[in-house]
Symmetry: C2
Subunit: 160 residues, 2 copies
């Protein structure tokens, strides 16, 4: 931890569910797989929401895409710089999606296939099996920015 | 809290910065303002990242859009159902972006105007002044889903 970080306010969140995924090892979400937008589009799995939160899943069925916020629970360190794949140098961590960040929160958008009780069957999953879920949100028109520009990522031949 | 929720694992995160916004009161982010995608596109403000995290902002400059994860610090309650504006009934909270959710984490995509030291000047801000920031991530091609369908929101005449 860098000097000064320890004085900041802490907020606590609870795990609300768990990811069931065919991606079992860190190598299964290796950066190489992110080459090309289709890298994880065929990966299917389940978002299991714990029963006491199940009522909150009502009305998710109509959405084709959901935002998943999760805990990078296997992240062992926090760093302000990350060394992305296929890059010669380091990049600021807030310009990357590295799991080794000050707050180990991940965010990904998945495609909803179907809902069965407290389980959502999804595809486009790039999350490790056993990952704790912190929140689900509907993906809406305000999240679509087709004109976006991608900084250093656009210059990197190996990344989408 | 619903029975069973208290037994779930807790994870703690630190505030890494604070939002400076012209939106001072809850009424300033009233649901009515979300009518039409342009509701907040002209709202400008600053994301101040605390100095000890500043190094992590390197390389954000090249991105036109950033994902902001923040703490809904003025959320007073958690509910599994939300009553969205212009809706006759309640919806499951995970099918809404309500601040009153089991984990009070907000997510929004902003447009980056410029970076000055530890401050990012942004537009498209729909976050209240004084809101604590938990994370910043680059918005990438994997976050764009132009074919998405928006469930109950698409049926609601008042929402985008």
């Amino acid at each position: 931890m860098t000097k000064g970080q320890e004085k900041r306010m802490i907020v606590a969140f609870r795990h609300i569910g768990i990811v069931h995924s065919p991606l079992k090892k860190k190598q299964d979400v290796s950066p190489e797989r992110y080459r090309g937008k289709s890298g994880f589009s065929n990966v299917q799995g389940e978002l299991e929401i714990y029963p006491e939160y199940g009522k909150g899943l009502q009305d998710t069925e109509g959405f084709s895409h959901l935002i998943v916020l999760f805990h990078f629970h296997r992240s062992k360190e926090s760093s302000l710089l990350a060394h992305p794949p296929f890059e010669s140098g380091e990049r600021g961590v807030f310009a990357t999606r590295s799991p080794n960040r000050p707050n180990a929160i991940g965010m990904t958008v998945v495609t909803l296939i179907k809902k069965e009780g407290n389980r959502l069957f999804v595809s486009g999953l790039d999350i490790l099996d056993g990952t704790p879920i912190l929140d689900l949100k509907p993906y809406t028109s305000r999240d679509i920015h087709p004109d976006a520009q991608f900084g250093w990522i656009a210059q990197n031949p190996g990344l989408p």
